[in-house]
Symmetry: C2
């Protein structure tokens, strides 16, 4: 994906020797990062975006229908975000951030090639899925989804599975069960949030102590291999939602001693302020119960407005 981007976009890669000082540096260039950049630069702040890829995980959405006024792919929308941003005096660097340190009143960011100083920082680093399941990559957007809020509608009256933690995801399961004909709930331990699912219990089948081992199909998802204590079996489904295993990218956050929740998502208040003054966070990396392109984008806008206010 990165390679494709590198050809498509003309990036402003700044390699000068002198140390640049910014009003705000944004790490990450998904919906939250690109929107916070738009709002920052429009407020007249000297803004730099550093990101490993442009578009973030939104690039993997093949059919995005809950961004108001838009129908298309995630990657197309992210291109639109980026094209709009390019019309402003902003710098965007595709590079790895290697460290972030507090220094005096601000922060120093080191990438693989350069150092930058900034007065405020917006972390919009998102999440990554490690340890992908066989077949997962092949079927992303073709039956494999990571976001019930985004994609539930595509599985109206279908049979689907959702792979969850033992004690959360009840909201997602209800959303899916309201639309789908049947929902398998696949949990590697004993699923605990059963009581909350009372109203939809006729539609769900809970599979405890079960692990998804493979996603099967030809052009799209048709079946799942599920392993439990008795052995392995195949179930027929039209899609699978994988809610677990998306870990927030918070290496810098840990070193900066930001407050995080037990799953390592960054804790922010309503204004997207973290526990360290001058550092804001937005998007999938924060402890928000509602995920998705729209809410991430709005969080980016709020982070930028409050970074601007902090600079006063």
């Amino acid at each position: 994906m990165l390679a494709k981007y590198k050809n498509e976009y003309v990036l402003s890669i700044f390699m000068e020797e002198e140390k640049n000082i910014y009003d705000v540096i944004i790490v990450g260039a998904g919906p939250a990062g690109l929107t916070s950049a738009l709002f920052s630069v429009r407020d007249g702040l000297k803004t730099l975006v550093v990101a490993r890829t442009l578009g973030g995980t939104a690039n993997s959405i093949l059919k995005l229908e809950n961004w108001p006024g838009y129908k298309g792919t995630g990657i197309e929308l992210m291109k639109n975000f980026y094209e709009q941003l390019k019309s402003y005096p902003i710098e965007v660097i595709v590079d790895d951030v290697q460290s972030v340190e507090k220094k005096g009143e601000g922060f120093v960011i080191k990438t693989s090639s350069k150092e930058f100083g900034t007065k405020t920082l917006i972390l919009a680093t998102g999440t990554k899925r490690e340890n992908k399941i066989p077949g997962e990559e092949k079927f992303v957007g073709k039956g494999v989804s990571y976001c019930a809020t985004c994609d539930a509608f595509f599985f109206k009256d279908k049979t689907i599975a959702i792979v969850v933690w033992e004690d959360s995801s009840a909201e997602e399961i209800i959303t899916l069960a309201n639309l789908a004909q049947k929902v398998y709930v696949v949990c590697d331990k004993k699923f605990k949030a059963k009581r909350e699912l009372k109203k939809v219990k006729k539609k769900i089948e809970i599979m405890n102590n079960s692990v998804l081992t493979e996603i099967k199909g030809e052009d799209k998802v048709q079946g799942l291999m599920i392993k439990d204590r008795k052995g392995e079996k195949e179930i027929n489904v039209d899609g699978v939602f994988i809610v677990i295993g998306a870990t927030p990218i918070t290496e810098f956050a840990k070193k900066l001693k930001l407050k995080m929740n037990k799953e390592n998502f960054i804790v922010v208040n309503e204004g997207m302020e973290t526990s360290v003054k001058g550092i804001f966070a937005a998007g999938d990396v924060i402890n928000s119960t509602i995920k998705g392109v729209l809410t991430s984008s709005a969080q980016g806008a709020i982070a930028a407005k409050n970074a601007e206010e902090f600079l006063q």
Copy 2:
């Protein structure tokens, strides 16, 4: 504007006699209302939108550049929102809501022609500006703006005025002052938030006990008539931000005894819940410090998600 819309859109106007019961009725069809409708219907809720106009005050934005990935007019974007919504099984009625009453576990909405029942309600009624100033209507989007967050960027290095309450709007003034060459702050009493403006004081001129009486210009705003205790004078400006006088449309909210702040904006929590169970609110009508199409839209999404959760 309404007449124009009525020709442009094919509306589903339902005039059957039987009483319809919905999962959610949304009052208002601006960014917040249309987005909450999109998220509701995609979650499988039986959804009705009742609104006086489609698009709301966003229709008056002639140059919308802080909706990520989009450049165009507000009315075009609102049309995109509506076109997308029409692809779902949703009902939209352009009509006046005459009353909203709590009845049993739900609510009854009366429009000028019909009654509807609903289990949950999302109020996205927005604001209206009464008592417009001579010239105001003519120059909307041509120098007259109601939103510093949205339009500040268009006045980079220009001279502008902002018409404010005595004790708020400091944030907007700072945003404008950071970009503009000069900002007149026009206040009908003695402006109190002076201390917060310390860092930008060189750029601002406060005009106390002053009232904007007329907006002048040919194709765009060129000057303002300002009346103070000594008489009336003209100042040269390239634009004027009118922050005061946009009152929330909360007649129903009052009757439903929703908690409101002193300016009559509806008080909501993070989840867009009002003080009455089953009623949510989003967009310009709520007590949010950050205004704009994007944040209103995200609030609509959050209201819809929480209305769905409430229904469980």
